[in-house]
C-alpha cells in the first residue's frame, strides 16, 4: 500500500495546478489502495462498512394448521392403520408412520418404525382455509452449502398440538393379552420433522442423522423429528369420528431447532432408502406424519386404529448466516 505522501506547501510555494494535483492525487491513491494488514486497525470496521451477517432470513407462520376445519379443537387430520402384513400399503389415510404387526409371533408392538421405504408418508403442515393450502415453508435462492459464504442453514420450527386422538375401527377396547393401554398410547401419535428440497430435482428429503444405524435398507434417524403421543385416555369413550374431539387436550409445544450443513446434503436419502446427494437446496418446510399402529383383539387378529390430530400456531424461520464452518 502506498503511503500517503503529502508535501506541505512551503511559504513561497505557488498554488499551481500541478502542485495541487500532486497532493490531491497522493491522497486519492492512498485511500483507493488500502492494504488490510497494514491499514486496518483492530475494530476499524463498523456496521456502516459491513453487510448483514445474514445473507437470508425469513419466517412463515399461521394460526390454524388444520386441513379440514377452522376450529383448532376439531381434529382435522385423520389416518387409519393398515391391517395387512405388508407395511406400506396405505389403504385409507393421508399418511402413516409404521405398522408393526408380526403374524408369525402374534402381535409384536415393539414401537419401532419400519425401515425405508416403508417408514411412512409425510405431508406438509398447511394452513387452514380454502385450497390450495399454504404450506409451512420458507423459500430462498438455490444454495450450495459447500459455498464458503453460506455453509449452514439455521432452521427453527414451532407447532402447537391441540389434540391427538385415536379410535378403533369397528372394535371395542382390545382385551385379554393385547397391548396394555399404556402401550397403545406409546405407539400412536403424531410426528413432526423438517424437510429440505433439492433445488435441481424438486424432491423433498429428510435431514438424517449420519450416525444412525446402517443395515440395508438403512434405519436412519431423522435428526429433526419430534413426536407427540395420543392423549385420548378414555377407553370407554374414544372419539367416534374425525369431527369429534378427544376428551383430554394435548396442548403440547413441538420445538425443532436444526442446523443444515453440506454434510446433510450429501447424507440425504431418496424414498427407497438409497443415498442421495443434493447439490443445492431452495426450500425448507415443516412436515407431519400420523402414527397409526395396528393393534390386536387379544387373539393376534389385527385391529385397525385411526389417529386424529389438530394443530395450531405453527411458525417456521430460516436464517442463513455468512460464516465459516469450523472443521474438527
Amino acid at each position: 500500500m502506498p503511503k500517503m505522501i503529502y508535501d506541505f506547501f512551503d511559504e513561497e510555494d505557488p498554488f499551481t495546478a500541478s502542485n495541487l494535483k500532486q497532493r490531491f492525487d497522493a491522497a486519492q491513491d492512498a485511500i483507493n489502495d488500502l492494504e488490510v494488514a497494514s491499514a486496518l486497525a483492530k475494530g476499524c470496521l463498523n456496521d456502516g462498512h459491513l453487510p448483514s451477517f445474514l445473507s437470508f432470513s425469513a419466517t412463515t407462520e399461521f394460526e390454524l394448521a388444520n386441513k379440514s376445519s377452522s376450529l383448532p379443537e376439531v381434529c382435522g387430520y385423520g389416518v387409519t392403520s393398515d391391517e395387512g402384513t405388508a407395511p406400506g400399503d396405505f389403504i385409507n389415510g393421508d399418511s402413516y408412520y409404521y405398522n408393526q404387526l408380526n403374524t408369525a409371533i402374534g402381535f409384536n408392538p415393539i414401537g419401532q418404525q419400519e425401515a425405508m421405504p416403508d417408514d411412512g408418508v409425510w405431508e406438509p403442515v398447511v394452513e387452514s382455509g380454502v385450497a390450495p393450502f399454504t404450506p409451512l415453508e420458507v423459500r430462498f435462492p438455490p444454495t450450495d452449502l459447500n459455498d464458503f459464504v453460506n455453509p449452514v442453514l439455521i432452521v427453527l420450527m414451532n407447532v402447537h398440538v391441540e389434540r391427538v386422538a385415536f379410535d378403533w375401527v369397528g372394535q371395542n377396547w382390545p382385551q385379554g393379552n393385547a397391548m396394555t393401554e399404556t402401550e397403545w398410547f406409546m405407539a400412536n401419535g403424531v410426528a413432526f420433522a423438517i424437510q429440505m428440497r433439492d433445488a435441481d430435482n424438486l424432491t423433498w428429503h429428510h435431514v438424517y442423522d449420519r450416525n444412525g444405524n446402517t443395515p440395508a435398507p438403512a434405519r436412519r434417524l431423522r435428526r429433526t423429528e419430534r413426536r407427540i403421543g395420543v392423549q385420548t385416555l378414555d377407553k370407554n369413550n374414544p372419539p367416534a369420528d374425525q369431527a369429534s374431539t378427544s376428551i383430554v387436550p394435548s396442548y403440547r409445544d413441538v420445538a425443532i431447532r436444526c442446523a443444515i450443513t453440506a454434510n446433510d446434503l450429501q447424507g440425504a436419502y431418496d424414498s427407497n432408502g438409497v443415498q442421495y446427494n443434493i447439490d443445492r437446496i431452495d426450500r425448507v418446510r415443516g412436515v407431519l406424519s400420523l402414527i397409526a399402529c395396528t393393534g390386536s383383539d387379544g387373539t393376534a387378529t389385527p385391529v385397525e386404529t385411526t389417529v386424529y390430530c389438530a394443530i395450531s400456531n405453527a411458525n417456521l424461520s430460516v436464517l442463513m448466516p455468512r460464516c465459516k464452518m469450523r472443521s474438527g
Binding site: 495546478a17 462498512h49 402447537h160
Partner: protein, 286 residues
Amino acid sequence: MVQIANYVHPPGAGTLGAGGTPTGTDIEDNWYFPTAASGVSLEVINGNLDERNLEQATNQTFKKYHIQRGALSTSGAVGSTANLDYFWELFASLEKLYDVPVANRRWLPDSDLVQYYEPIPGANIEYYCPYDNAKVLLQWNVIWFNDGYLEAPLVPVPTNHNIQANVTKMQMFYTDSANSTEQILDSVGNRKCPPGFIRDDGTLPAEENRFPPWGDSCLYNAMFCRSWTGHKLVTLTGAGWYSAGLRTVFAGNANQSNDGSISPGTESIYQTRVLTRSMRYIIFKS
C-alpha cells in the same frame, strides 16, 4: 461508500487545471464534500471506506478483530428459576376463557382477553437496537402448570367443541417499532396448559370419566405441566429501544364467602405456578 472515483473539482482540470484560478471553496470541496451516492472527496475516510478502497492485486483477508464489537449483531437474555405464583384474585373479573353458551364453546378472541394478561418477571426483556434496519430472533422458554381440575367432556361430543375449562394461557407480546410502548400480541405465540387435577371436592367425575394414568385415587397428574420453547423472527424499524415478553392469564371467577372460604365458579383455578423461564434476543443488522 465508494472508492474516490474523482474529486468534485478534478485536479488538472477546470479551475484546478493549468492556468485556472482555484478558489478556497474548490479546495475545501475536494477535502470535504459528503454525498450519499458516491465518493467525491476525502471525506470518505469518515467511516465510509469499503471493499473498493482495498488494494486489488493481492488476496487480502479480514480478521475477526477488524470487525468492531457489535457491528453485525448484538444479543442479551434474562431468566429466572424462582417459582412465581399467580392467584385467582388477579383475574377475578375474568369469568371464562371461552365464550358462552357452554355448549359449542369457542375461545375468547384476543381483543376480549388482552386486558387481563399479567406479565411474567424473568420472561420479559427490553433491549436496544443500534441499527437502522435489523431483524431480531427472539427465543424463550417457560414451564408452568395450574391447579384447576379436569372437566368431563361435554356431550354429545361431536356437537360440542369441548374446549377444556380451567386452562392457563401463556401469551407472547413484542414491539417492532423503535421506542414504542405498545406491545403487539403475537397471533401465533400462545400456548395453553390444561388443568393438573381431578376434582377433589366430593364430586369427583364419574368413574367412566376418570382416565388412566391418573386412576381412581390419583388426583394430581404430573403430565399436566407444560413447557414452551418458542421463537419469533421480527423485523425492526429504526434504532432504539424494543421489548418482548410473556404474559399469562386464567379465569379467576371463584366465589369468596364472608367467612373467607372459597368455592369454585364456572372455571376454577386457584393458582398457576410459573417455574423456570427466560427470554433471549439476537439482533442482526440488515
